[in-house]
């Protein structure tokens, strides 16, 4: 189970100028970079899809509102059907990649796994 939250001190930590901030430890730094990079790339891909719909709707309406089958247009198909699947697919890819990284991390940090340091609140 994750560390349980406890009360904290409002003043003890104080502040420092951002230029004096020591670099993050290499492990946390790598985790953050990997996590952010994956999330950012997936979000870019997702937003490219998201904004493609209104852009095409407004600037290529004859294509987007032409029919694929029956009365279903490209635009309705992408907005009402594909987009719903896309929300899940992006989240699923993110979770799958995360699990993969976690497995790798756990196997390479087997000995130190479970130890905590620094600002302990649990």
């Amino acid at each position: 189970m994750a560390n349980e939250y406890t009360e904290y001190d409002y003043v003890a930590a104080g502040t420092i100028d951002v230029s004096e901030l020591p670099p993050l430890d290499p492990e946390t730094n790598k985790i953050m970079k990997d996590e952010f990079s994956t999330g950012f790339k997936l979000s870019l891909l997702y937003y490219a899809f998201i904004f493609a719909i209104p852009i095409l709707n407004w600037f290529a309406p004859e294509f987007m509102f032409s029919r694929i089958w029956g009365g279903m247009t490209y635009s309705w198909f992408l907005t009402g059907i594909v987009a719903m699947a896309m929300a899940f697919i992006i989240a699923y890819i993110h979770t799958a990649l995360y699990e993969k990284r976690l497995q790798k991390y756990q196997s390479s940090n087997g000995s130190s796994f479970g130890k905590s340091e620094g600002r302990d609140i649990g």
């Binding site: 901030l21 904004f51 407004w58 907005t79 699923y92």
Partner: protein, 523 residues
Amino acid sequence: MMQTLLEPKMIMTILLMGTIVYITYLTKRSATASDYFVGGRSFGWFTNGSAIGGDYLSAATFLGIAGLTFQLGYDGAYYAFCFSIGLTLLAIFVAGPLRRFGAYTVADFLAYRFHSKRARLAAVAVVLAISGFYAAPQLLGAAQILSMFFGTSYEFGIIFTCAVMIFYVGIGGMKGTTLNQALELWIRLGAFILMVIAAIYGGLHYDKILAGISEFKGVIGDTAQYAKDGKDVSFDGTSWTGTGNYFPTFWQTVSMTIGLSLGTIGLPHILLRFYTNPSAKAARKSALMAIAIASVFFFFAVYLGAVGRSIFLSGTAEPQVMKDLVAGGNNMVIPSTAQALGGEWLLGLVIAGAFAAIFSNLSGLFIASSGALAHDLYATFVRKNNISERERVIAGKVSIVILGILYGTLGLMVKNASIGHLVALAFTVAASTFTPIFILGIWWRGMTEKGAIAGLVIGLLASMYMIFFTSTLPEFLQFKIPGLVTVPLGFLSVYIVSKLDRKVPADVNDFMRKVHSKESEAA
């Protein structure tokens, strides 16, 4: 009297109420603050995923999306599309780190990140603002539904709904709320599934109904008797299946997309749900489960809106259904379509589903605001954290009563407001305040206390001004949902003020280690 009690809608509603009472009774014991505010962090991904879905898919979604699709056609479907984006972004950037942080309230995050009481206070103000803007339209919807189906007054509807909330959130705390939300989600999803099966069984296939609708142009027969102006309702299918019905320009569409898609990340009652998981891994799986549920839900809602329109255009439905579709407004589309597809019993299930949606969403807002009042304000500022577990729980319960009175008053004040307008306001405020704070707070060490407070204050004021005083703005800034302006403004405020301030917490590295560490993932 007996005849009324035996009506399917009454039986279904009584069954729902009975289940709520039973679950609340089972979960009435909250020994610790952790039990009361975050359900003892004991919920697995299935229960919590269902509860997140229950929290997110409010009455505005259950009744509103199909209603908007029925009314606006493609632009209504686009609304559903925008709502479907937010949970995915939340899962990617916030869900895991937030659970690793593991506090009780949204304001805890800021208070801990900056060791700041001022930041906590600013966060409490924003939590109460967002929750108030979100709760008011839910209460409005509840009172309208009670009035439509059971003939009660608006005032009775507000008081009754608040009384139910005080009972089940006050007694059951987060445990009762979560189990009720999970159950309520499956009631309305069940109603949608039955409606979809009935529609397909009746030959109302997606491609076929869209073809029929898009080719229709003219007046709909026998509708004059129900219309306010006494004329048959006219309809143009080409316009309905195209864009520009509601959002007249490209930039209006983009602004709405930004506001609604990023708003979810900042909704306090949704953020709070990630504290209730036992681990960050379970938090991610809960988010995935909620996204799957929401995606199916939005897909069904858009389809059923089109089914409702198709039934209406065919003019073959019962007179009562035709009357409700002409005079009942958007909120009547799902109930009327259910009645047309499956008779009184399906209508009964849909009404129970509508109440389930309202209770589920409102309970999430009540518990999030209760944390802000009892934990953030009372325990921290009044008692200076010198407070026992038992006193914390009592404070939580008392705050639910206060919120019931507060939200009830708010509900009575917004009788004539637009539900969509208020929900849009809640999303815009959330997207312009907490979204920048959480994304930058989790991923950027350079964020300072002053930057965070500036972001909250500027984001809150800018979004409220742009929604309430739209007409005072130049035409190019008159957005229905001003996310295009207010969200970048929120991010920029945090960034610029932090860059100027430069004073970061000395232990920010420890904070980052805590929220990004993979050590807690083993649970």
